[in-house]
Symmetry: C2
Subunit: 305 residues, 2 copies
């Protein structure tokens, strides 16, 4: 097993539809990016072979880090709990499966995205920072004093499952009524808009064109996001909040009304609002963060020297 000084590492992000792989150097520069479709034929062995081939192709013998949805086992070798398409990966030990001769650290995908943004993106150099990932659902992650909050069972950072509307009949997959995810996630956009909009993208386009229904609906979603961010600020008190995910690509159609709504809800004891920053690594943040975790993991060569 050639584990040189780990000048490079591979990061692999397992998503429900795509697998993303990157090769990065120690300074965080991305040397190569690869995409593969997520196969769903129920054949776990063939899936693992695909991942292993991708890892070898990107950097044979180099440290590998893995990012995936779900709750990570405390020893970081597996996902302990995962719903949806990748459910079959629960309990799979990636360190054994990829035979790298050293830990293949597994990181929750939203956690990995924040680690990526802190290392190379919008949150570079920050130590107290929270991230919201607005997409099909709403993911999140929190860093405090330079340490990622993982939590007692790996559940920390599930910001999308904060309740902001306690009597709402809409309940999130984590059993929470009126959760942020139910109010801005793309997964229920049709129900939420009375079948008027198929996607959040379409809703935002109509908002831009000043469609009055879209205007009301989008600002209701933005309001839910604002009260959640303000609540989170009161709980963990970050210096910045990063907003990423597909919906964040709306740019000022999101950030302009969001900043305005924050003025109503953010507690400003010293007058300074917390910075709201768009994520900059896009869909590659998780893979980059996972690679960073591989570089940070102790290598067998350094521990045996």
């Amino acid at each position: 097993m050639t584990t040189p000084d780990a000048a490079h590492a591979v990061g692999i992000d397992l998503g429900g539809t795509q697998i993303k792989g990157v090769l990065v150097d120690r300074s965080g520069g991305v040397l190569r990016r690869e995409l593969r479709p997520t196969t769903d034929d129920g054949d776990l062995r063939s899936f693992v072979r695909t991942i292993r081939a991708l890892a070898d192709e990107l950097g044979n013998g180099m440290p590998v880090g893995l990012s995936a949805p779900g709750l990570v086992r405390p020893d970081r070798r597996a996902i302990a709990w995962m719903r949806g398409r990748l459910h079959g990966l629960e309990g799979l030990d990636w360190t054994d499966s990829l035979e790298r001769g050293q830990l293949v650290p597994v990181t929750n995908d939203a956690h990995a995205a924040l680690l990526g943004e802190v290392w190379q993106g919008a949150a570079r150099g920050l130590k107290d920072v929270a991230m919201f990932t607005l997409g099909t659902g709403v993911g999140g992650a929190i860093m405090v004093d330079g340490h990622l909050l993982r939590g007692h069972i790996g559940r920390a950072g599930h910001i999308g499952h904060i309740c902001v509307d306690r009597y709402s009949p809409t309940v999130s997959i984590a059993d929470m009524p009126g959760a942020l995810e139910c109010l801005i996630g793309n997964y229920n956009i049709r129900e939420r808009t009375g079948d008027r909009f198929e996607t959040t993208h379409a809703l935002i386009e109509a908002y831009r064109e000043r469609d009055p229904v879209a205007y009301r609906l989008w600002l209701e979603s933005v309001q839910a996001l604002a009260v959640t961010i303000a609540s989170l600020i009161n709980v963990v008190d970050p210096e910045a909040v990063i907003i990423g995910g597909g919906i964040a690509q709306a740019g000022e159609a999101l950030f302009e009304p969001l900043r305005k709504a924050m003025k109503d809800y953010e507690w400003l004891p010293f007058g300074e609002p917390v910075k709201l920053l768009p994520a900059t690594l896009g869909e590659w943040a998780g893979a980059i963060g996972a690679a960073g975790e591989a570089l940070a993991s102790p290598s067998p060569s350094s521990s045996s020297s």
Copy 2:
């Protein structure tokens, strides 16, 4: 300045109506407790003299830690922001004022209460734990992996200012609509109950006697607490949640409906609910936690040896 090996320390908790002082030994045993009224004659010097006399009486020359409401300055020598009766203490440097020859660490009162409960109370030995203090308002504190979350400007743990009812007309002092504090804090119990109940204690008494209006009102408050605890669990993922403050003295009239409501809202990926524990140090938790911080602060004798 006699700073022996700091086998003992003094903890002082500055409250709006009372000042509590304790002398503790290194193992956390409380050797002495003292109460003084909080004077409010606007004379800062005389107030500081009172605190200093109390500290000397409890343990002349011993390390002192201070607990107080408000946001603590990053150097921990002063409260940087405080509303209400003790507003005049903003910026007062307690290390200079008490002339102890070493840092007098200042800790937010809710933070100090959690530190006390972790050291000597309900949370003994726990590393991932959150605390709610239910009283006039709702205070809180969070410990992650053995570290208290203080936050970027000392604001972390303001759990009472999580929004759970985003369109509520009732707004907390931290500008948050439908905040937990507005729904269970004692400060607005009259407005909240249409002048039917003067105190939360009276509301709970009527609930115990199966008064139907009290029943509905109290369970609405408990529901707000349950969704907030469940939200917080999704965000920081503790192993236990401690509930203290005057309202928590209701015992099973609080905990029985609370546990029941948690079943509707808590996400249980592995089937195990987070433990809900009543605080055990009562109103002395803050002073004991402050004393612990003084014992943990570097003493000049040890640093110069």
